[in-house]
């Protein structure tokens, strides 16, 4: 039996399912397109051609143009970059808070742990979407506020999960050994807990990204997120929904891109869970 690191083994299990590889490939392609596409395009996302107005697909504009003669393909790729950026950054913020909070609560234990978890219990039923809407209205509709606001409210589940993992880990022998050889709290947290919870963190983060992207799109759709003329997929869907009676493609194209991305993210998230979770692994072998 050749030895492979847990990460590499998980990667192999992930790629064994063709659909996971397909979803990952789609996402990589999409990210590349969203990053480099707008640069290579002949148009900028807010460049207008008022004589053209809304036109169907053509050689010059592959996915057509909107009422202001803006190139849809360029706008979708630009909007995709904004949506993906919000999705990834907000997830990173939420994961960061959740992991630190959960690890500290789990590793300290005792009174601090129960106090910290009581706080999570109290925060759980909060109407966070209302808070985010208010924050957007009050603090301003700027890019960084969107992902900080979303990130600041989405960390609770991560904190619970990570704490559970740390509780299961901290009484194992390697931790006792580390403690016996004089390792401090932060050393154990950083060197022994973090590497062991990282798989779980990856799973839950990947499952969080589509939810966060939906939240951003919802805010933008309500006119409270990304502000025109800048575009995200939520903005494009809003503009498309307003014009769908006459120009249905303005709704369909961004909607298709968004749905396909959510689909790929969901498939990949499920795939990662199966790849990292030993319980579902044993089911596969059985």
């Amino acid at each position: 039996m050749n030895s492979v690191s847990p990460m590499r083994a998980a990667w192999r299990r992930l790629m064994r399912q063709r659909i996971n590889a397909f979803a990952l490939g789609f996402l990589v392609l999409l990210v590349l397109l969203c990053v480099f596409g707008p640069m290579l395009s002949n148009y900028t996302q807010d460049q207008q051609d008022l004589e053209l107005k809304a036109a169907g697909p053509s050689m010059a504009h592959w996915l057509g143009t909107d009422q202001l003669g803006r190139d849809i393909a360029t706008r979708i790729l630009h909007g995709g970059r904004v949506s993906l950026e919000v999705g990834i950054l907000a997830t990173a913020v939420a994961s960061f808070i959740g992991v630190i909070y959960g690890m500290i609560a789990g590793l300290t234990g005792m009174k601090l742990d129960s106090a910290m978890m009581r706080l999570v219990d109290i925060l759980y039923p909060f109407p966070f979407i209302n808070f985010v809407i208010l924050l957007m209205v009050i603090v301003g509709r700027e890019f960084w506020i969107i992902f900080v606001a979303i990130g600041a409210v989405e960390w609770l589940t991560m904190a619970r999960v990570v704490r559970g993992q740390v509780l299961a880990l901290k009484n194992l022998e390697f931790v006792t050994a580390a403690r016996a050889s004089g390792a401090g709290f932060w050393h154990i947290l950083w060197k022994h807990m973090l590497p062991n919870v990282i798989g779980t963190v990856i799973i839950y983060s990947s499952l969080m990204v589509p939810g966060v992207m939906l939240l951003e799109a919802a805010l933008s759709f309500l006119g409270l997120g990304i502000q025109p003329p800048d575009a995200s997929w939520g903005v494009l869907i809003r503009e498309g929904a307003n014009a769908m009676e006459t120009y249905p493609w303005l709704l369909l194209y961004p909607g298709l891109f968004f749905s396909a991305t959510l689909l790929a993210l969901n498939i990949l998230g499920d795939g990662l869970r199966d790849a990292f979770d030993p319980k579902s692994m044993s089911q596969q072998q059985a």
Binding site: F126, N130, A218, F221, I237, A241, P248, L251, F258, L262
Partner: protein, 306 residues
């Protein structure tokens, strides 16, 4: 049981208290007063208005008054809808949201549970793959895309229903279908997962060994246990639907609570924004409590713990 109820009620009150305080903090951090967006009015009129709503007081007094209002169920006047108290505004918007939420939940359960059960009963068959694919597609179609598409097809093409406003007795249909489809996708997924897990357990094998048929196994034995995760999802989902879906109410231009909240937020109506958030939180707390009690009743192994 009584200890459980008392302790959960206290926890609920703490949650409401915390929601009021957080809302207060967010709203007080807003630059300018609640009437800044209005036409320029004379300083005297502004001062009179501020005094009318008690906004000339120092903030601890304001917060205290706020809390007293909620503690005594004697609610404040809305800033935006002058002359009406916030509970009157909520009472006027709630029936609209509820008229959409209740059919939506029924649609979601009516589609989701059978679809998920079918997939769980015939694992790795065409039925399983098909229903799982349908559920995944449903989860990946955001309501802001599905809503306009449904409005376009049934409203503008077939002209069966209105696509905006709240005038006819059938205006609830399209919004309910939109929400129902999306929630049914989540319910199908949860049902499939938990029913499969339940069917693998030993008491099901015992039931099969005794000669119980498929139907009896599902309805007498498995579904009771398998519906626990679905209930867990339904609690907060029902609370969210009853306080109005922001997106669907925007798409179909419905005067529900979601629209009232956005109007309150945009117009700095602190009283109404707080009241709707508190209402939402109270519903979530209430439904979670209900779900916990139901779960303990369905699965005697669950002990109600404070």
């Amino acid at each position: 049981m009584i200890r459980f109820l008392v302790s959960r009620t206290i926890q609920g009150i703490i949650v409401i208290f915390a929601v009021i305080c957080v809302m207060f903090a967010i709203l007080k951090s807003s630059p300018g007063g609640p009437f800044r967006s209005e036409r320029a009015i004379s300083p005297e009129a502004m001062a009179a208005k501020m005094a009318h709503y008690g906004l000339d007081q120092p903030w601890p007094v304001q917060l205290w008054r706020h809390l007293v209002h909620y503690a005594t169920f004697d609610f404040e006047e809305s800033y935006l809808f002058a002359g009406r108290t916030v509970d009157e505004v909520i009472v006027s918007g709630f029936p609209v949201s509820a008229a959409i939420a209740i059919p939506a939940l029924l649609i979601a359960l009516g589609i989701g549970v059978p679809l998920g059960a079918l997939a769980a009963l015939r694992p790795n068959t065409l039925e399983d793959r098909g229903s799982t694919l349908a559920a995944t597609l449903g989860i990946c179609t955001p309501s802001m895309v599905l809503g306009p598409l449904i409005a376009m097809f049934f409203g503008l093409k077939l002209r069966w229903f209105n696509t905006s406003g709240w005038f006819d007795t059938t205006d609830w249909v399209l919004p309910s279908i939109t929400l129902g489809i999306i929630y049914s996708a989540y319910i199908a997924r949860l049902t499939r997962g938990s029913l499969r897990e339940t069917l693998a357990q030993e008491f099901i094998r015992t039931a099969k060994a005794k000669g119980a048929g498929d139907f009896a196994i599902i309805f007498r034995h498995a579904l009771k246990l398998a519906c626990l995760p679905v209930l867990n999802f339904l609690g907060p989902a029902a609370a969210g639907l009853l306080t109005g879906s922001f997106i669907v109410e925007t798409v179909f231009q419905l005067p529900g609570l979601g629209q009232f909240f956005i109007a309150a937020a945009v117009n700095n109506d602190h009283a109404l924004a707080t009241a709707i958030s508190v209402f939402y939180a109270a519903l979530i707390v209430g439904f979670n409590l209900l779900v916990d009690i139901l779960q303990a009743w369905l699965n005697p192994r669950i002990r109600l713990q404070a």
